[in-house]
Symmetry: C2
Subunit: 334 residues, 2 copies
DNA sequence: TTGAAAGCGCTAACAT
DNA sequence: ATGTTAGCGCTTTCAA
């Protein structure tokens, strides 16, 4: 393992030039005679030289050519789509992506971000803040590198962000359920401290209000985190008298679909996010869809704009959502 | 942005000691008087000092505390589960994970690996090799850092690897279809150059042979890469006379399920990998399941063993698969 | 137990 | 157009 690798000095010696010239060639700078460049390049090829990035990054003002992506859980297809989008954009900018999952823990978010920004000195950060996100941490980090928030925004910090139309999307989904004659519509959601959760719940309430249906606290289950918890919550709700369930996100949706399936009750499901194979289910599911990859690409685009020096006030992009009904009878679309 | 951050020199000055002593404290070395340590630690806290990792990594023999994960496509839930497993293990070892998607392109695999190993000098690499993986590249990289292959192995290179029981899993799935009376069983798969694809096809043929069913080339569709391609291939197959379809992996499976659904023919589906919501489908699907996260954790465990100096011949772990039937009538399991 | 000093591989003035 | 030189921030002998 780890034998000595050729350095610029080795290349310089082999080519009979100075290290500075090698550096110029490697960095494609001007003021290098074509002949010299060729000489150096063949020495580089001959020795198999590859610049040591740690050494380059050490110099002040230099970059690490790396961005960080701190998300909730890489195993959730939703977040991995975001990661994929971010990675594509990063590649186009010649950057690598370091990923870290917070699993919803604020401590982990803090530790990860501190490590990435303060120690490893990434060039920028894409972050999905956890519920308890504190303004201090993000303000501190923003002093060093550009930070772009994805999907959620920490409360009180004006910052670059890409988010969804959460309340609008949820509202339209619930309105759809109301239109179909449902009145007792339950809600299963995650932490109300997460901005997305709060906004989606707000959309739910707006829809009810618009239809003159009183808000019933007993039909709402918050702080549900996993598929199995959602399934349990839905099963519990199905024990009472309900017409439909609106699920906060794709994990809640899967859990709810299982519970409804098991109950064999004619309860309709609607949810935020899309779920694969939903279109093949025997019963219709109404979904608030959008392209999660876009959250990643949009966020990364904003981040690289800042990395490349864009100044100005915080930008906020709101991605539109589309209401679709999948499954039920009929054939499956795209 | 990027103001000057405190260095060890700053800490040393603040604490009235030498930089060497600060280094000793930061690295938790012996030979530091308790009193001095406390002094330095308070200076560190006071200044908010965080060691510059690039500077540390520069010294020979030092590590970057980073591993690379080069996979096919982060957007595929299967691979993101692998990534998640790898990330968990990496965290336990105090390492960050840099991810790169190859999208099945050998050129991208080469570029990514070269960059990560030769330039950024990660401490180790987890890689899912592409089809055309060449022994040279992997041999070259193995000279510098430990490399562990996940899911597939490049042909001809004895190396650490974690793989699945591909032929056994596929064989049992197809045997299951045969037991249920099906004879004309189609096969939809990816590139036969990928070891997993080749092994799964082999398992399919073994099963047919065992049942005395002749192998029919016209029932096999290879080089299918995406969900929509799989759907098209399955639709095409459904135009002929077939009893069942075996799909190579989760992408093929989803495409096939769509096609079968649309055709309204009583054709049964079996597939490698698991798919969420399969258990809620009206028709049964037989799946060769296993825990993809384990591919990541196992691979990372092997990698860190090497990083921490384990020597000896290449190890190869084969993960068992479980045949399950999901969906159809009845209620849904876990 | 602590400090002085050298140097990791690279870049950027500055000089030529 | 090219070379010289002085660090970047850290670790590590070696000496005290």
């Amino acid at each position: 393992m780890s034998q000595r690798r050729p350095t610029m000095h080795d290349v310089a010696r082999a080519a009979g030039v100075s290290p500075a010239t090698v550096s110029r060639v490697v960095n494609n700078e001007r003021y290098v005679r074509e002949q010299t460049r060729a000489l150096v390049e063949s020495a580089i090829a001959g020795l198999g030289f590859q610049r040591n990035e740690a050494a380059r990054a050490l110099r002040p003002g230099q970059t690490t050519e790396t961005i960080a992506l701190v998300i909730e859980d890489l195993a959730n297809p939703f977040w991995s789509a975001v990661a994929h989008g971010a990675e594509e954009v990063a590649r186009r900018h010649g950057h690598m992506v370091v990923v870290g999952s917070t699993r919803g823990s604020y401590d982990r978010e803090r530790d990860l971000l501190r490590d990435l920004v303060l120690r490893r000195r990434v060039d920028g950060v894409l972050v999905v803040p956890t519920a308890e996100a504190q303004a201090d941490l993000h303000a501190e980090l923003s002093r060093w590198v550009p930070v772009v928030f994805i999907d959620r925004t920490p409360s009180g910090v004006p910052a670059d962000a890409v988010v969804l139309d959460n309340s609008g999307g949820a509202r339209r989904a619930v309105e759809h359920l109301l239109t179909r004659g449902h009145r007792r519509i339950a809600y299963i959601g995650g932490s109300p401290k997460v901005t997305t959760g709060a906004r989606r719940l707000a959309g739910y309430r707006q829809a009810l209000k618009g239809a003159g249906v009183p808000f019933d606290r007993s039909l709402v289950r918050m702080n549900v985190a996993t598929v199995s918890e959602a399934r349990a919550a839905a099963t519990d709700l199905l024990g009472g008298r309900i017409d439909a369930i609106f699920a906060d996100n794709n994990r809640m949706c899967v859990g709810t679909l299982h519970a409804v399936h098991d109950s064999r009750q004619p309860v309709e499901t609607a949810a935020f996010d899309d779920v694969e194979l939903a279109d093949l289910l025997p019963r219709p599911v109404t979904l608030v869809t959008y392209d999660p990859t876009e959250l990643g690409t949009c966020g990364a685009d904003m981040l690289f704009a800042r990395i490349n020096g864009a100044s100005g006030p915080p930008r906020r992009t709101v991605l539109r959502t589309t209401l679709v009904t999948r499954g039920g009878n009929g054939s499956s679309p795209g």
